[in-house]
Amino acid sequence: MSRPLCQNKEVMSHAKKSSASSPKNPSVWVVVPLFNEAEVISSVVKQLKSEFSHVVCVDDGSSDNSAALAEKAGARVLSHPLNLGQGAALQTGFDFVSSQHGASHVVTFDADGQHRVKDAVEMVELAQRKRISVIYGSRFLDKRTQPGIKKRVVLKVAALMTRAITGLRLTDAHNGLRVLSMEAIGKVQLEQNGMSHASEIVHQLAKSKLSWKEYPVEVLYTDYSKQKGQSLLNSINILIDLLVR
């Protein structure tokens, strides 16, 4: 983003032109839960827009100008009137896409820039080609992603717990990159507003018996995304959240 002003216009007009001639992945809607990510959201949305014509950011009551930046970068922005949590933002996005004509798949994508758009494109392609209802991104299927030892332990504990509760043998339970068919979206009704939605979504999809697959993705640990991580103790919160409702 060395030339932010002129580049914005270029990218915008380019996106408009390409969507006018041949909209990319016209039946796919990318849902991005958004909360205070003003530093990175513009570039995340622009990268997404280069591959997907429908990008929906659900602004979860950000106190910075994330929503305006996302809109300017070309996303459709839905705004919660108050901060509810990432799970609530995802569900709002799902409800919105369900009301759109011609939607076939939903991609969930984190706003902090830790996912690669290329991975999302490949996952959508796989879902469509093999008719798989749910594709979970996993950073532990190959060696590209190098989380620190602490992060690895936290994520492994979360994955083991999700396995114990849902019976699904996932290697990476808390990856924000997923592809869901509209049939799968119909089976999901997230009630966990906070971070426990990641296990809840697996739980509900496991019950639905829809076909699923894990797909190797790379998670980009930038200095920015490293500041935001989950702690080991939080897995206790997730367990209680899933048991008590």
Partner: protein, 117 residues
């Protein structure tokens, strides 16, 4: 001891309530019944402390004051759990409301856009 079984059962019930409670008229009725019974029992205990002692002795607790303390602990736990569940329910209502507002605004936006075109 008999009293230990009673107390353990009461705590188990509190735990069960934490996991399984649903918002139903029956449960509300049971809660209210407990409050009324508790009030009457408290009234009697204040007026005739010897009854409290007698009941405590029957349960094998020894002193009426101890029985009162145990009862209070169980009640306090139950109340905490009840409030926690109420808060969960309130959060759900707030979420549904906020979501409805968000989606309605999105529809309005869409209408405005289609009118512009």
């Amino acid at each position: 001891m008999f009293s230990q079984w009673v107390l353990a059962a009461a705590l188990l019930l509190v735990g069960l309530y934490l996991l399984k409670a649903k918002r139903s008229a029956n449960q509300q009725a049971i809660r209210r019944l407990f409050i009324v019974v508790g009030l009457i029992a408290g009234f009697i205990a204040v007026l005739f402390p010897e009854y409290l002692n007698a009941v405590a002795g029957f349960l094998g607790i020894g002193r009426g004051a101890d029985l009162l303390l145990y009862g209070f602990v169980v009640f306090a736990l139950f109340y905490a759990v009840y409030q926690y569940r109420r808060q969960l329910w309130q959060e759900k209502v707030t979420t549904d409301l906020a979501r409805a507002l968000t989606l309605t605004r999105a529809q309005l936006d869409e209408l405005r856009r289609s009118q512009k075109d």
